[in-house]
Assembly symmetry: C2
Homo-oligomer: 304 residues x 2
């Protein structure tokens, strides 16, 4: 039986995801309900933040916290802050000096609407605001030491030793002969680091013991890597309508990707293996981890 | 007697500043002693971080902490983190899409050496690393709640409601008819917010009572505003050799500055008044605040 036909506990994962998306969107809308001066900065920040993101990273944080027995509503600031980091990274990645993309989530990219200067500043502002958001906490149950650990975790995962390092390597490796080590570096840093940290955020805030944190870390690592490989496959096989952004751009730019190095079929196989390993890492949990298992399968089947 | 001839307690402020600079530089060098991958990102980050910055903001944090009775060595991570924020802001401000400057501190700007993509990423990485650095604390004396307050303080001051907001307004106001309210918004946000927050960082970490925090806040606000006005005057009156960057660029770009709106003489007068008010705000302190008083006078006399 292939991994694509596995299903856990007959839960409706789409409904689960939709509900979580709704809660996160609500938190973000409320947080950004008062306009910021100057208006163009506010418009630019909220344009990309509310452009239809799937909120996968915050959902992973909420679900991991839930698996550890917590009420996900208690960590909405920390989970939602991850979406600010993700959104800033997309705005900066799309800039002419970087990937020079015109389309994102079916809409013109940020700099196409607001100009490069404002797009750079909107990214800067979202990244900075993320760390302010992380300090928000009304619930005494969450320890201040855990909040500091999460700030350290997410700054590590998204900075030079994580996402930014991966993006820099990605940019400078364009049109280079693909090699296994560089590709692995790009994948683990550019995408997997923040996804892994999202899952760990939930576990850290729940004050989970080491064995649980380790299992969730392994899960996050596997689905993070799978996520990037699937993204690269979709860039080749997807259509502009499905993706909401131009397809085939990786080949055009000579990006170092898993399909470019190993071919599409082997890439698909690898992504399935990773999702399978991610689910295996959850074997210490009972049905409470079904949402995380289902999310892993959902990511494998995604078309955008 | 003009404010320029005032001197407190015969202390050698240059020696005081040099000693503090040395300690901060040492902390930063040690923090960034292990190379980051990819090498070009590491080079780009450290190129701007060690380009001869005066470390005024971290020094203000250390001095404010000292005034409150603390040992400044205990808050080096939080003070130095402010320099990462300041450095990132300079790299991004200099970009072609922003102020398009070729020279900074007597050297080519970051993007001139490393290209726009790497410069953007180096700025992103420094900003992100700042928040990681702020979580570093080995001293039990500093409360975790104070660390969280400082993270909130510095993210507020440097984000959309602070520095980034000011920079956005500055960019979109170029070549507009100068007006008092917009100019005040730019000054209080672009520069004063982070300087004010630097002083407050020291006070917050020392757990100082409200009256002390208020006095230091007022001091920070006044010298922050004075700092920007002096910067704008120097842009007109300074030479490329003194400034380490091109002079006269504000007029060229049609920047909304204090001298542009009120003329050089009135701008100088305003900066002296602000420094005087800043020093007055310190009247609740005895000689322990002399370094802060002397720093205010030093900023007034600076030529770069």
């Amino acid at each position: 039986m292939g991994i694509n036909s596995i299903s856990y506990c007959k839960m409706d994962i789409k409904e689960y995801i939709n509900k979580k998306q709704f809660v996160i969107d609500n938190y973000l809308k409320n947080y950004f309900s008062s306009p910021i001066k100057p208006g163009i900065l506010y418009e630019s920040m909220t344009y990309s933040l509310f452009a239809g993101g799937k909120r996968i990273r915050p959902i992973l944080a909420l679900s991991a916290y839930e698996v550890c027995g917590g009420n996900p509503e208690h960590i909405l600031p920390q989970a939602s802050a991850i979406e600010l980091i993700h959104t800033y990274s997309l705005i900066h990645d799309d800039l002419p000096a970087m990937d020079n993309d015109d389309l994102r989530r079916g809409k013109p990219t940020n700099h196409k609407i607001f100009g490069e200067a404002v797009a750079i500043l909107a990214g800067d502002a979202l990244l900075t605001e993320a760390f302010k958001m992380m300090t928000e906490c009304e619930i005494k149950k969450i320890k201040k030491s855990s909040l500091l650990k999460v700030i350290k975790e997410l700054s590590s995962a998204s900075g030079a030793h994580g996402m930014v390092g991966g993006q820099a390597q990605d940019i400078i490796s364009e049109k280079s002969e693909p090699d296994k080590n560089t590709l692995e570096f790009i994948h683990t840093h550019k995408t997997a680091a923040l996804i892994r940290a999202s899952v760990r955020t939930g576990a850290i805030l729940a004050g989970s013991k080491k064995s649980i944190l380790n299992a969730l870390t392994k899960y996050g690592e596997c689905i993070g890597l799978a996520f990037q490989i699937i993204d690269d496959i979709l860039n080749i096989e997807g259509s502009i309508e499905e993706l909401g952004k131009s397809a085939g751009t990786d080949i055009e730019k000579g990006k170092m990707t898993y399909p470019a190095l190993y071919g599409n079929e082997k890439a698909k196989q690898k992504s399935e293996e990773l999702v399978s390993s991610g689910i295996s890492a959850l074997k210490i949990f009972s049905s409470e981890a079904d949402p995380l298992r289902e999310i892993a399968l959902y990511l494998l089947k995604r078309r955008a």
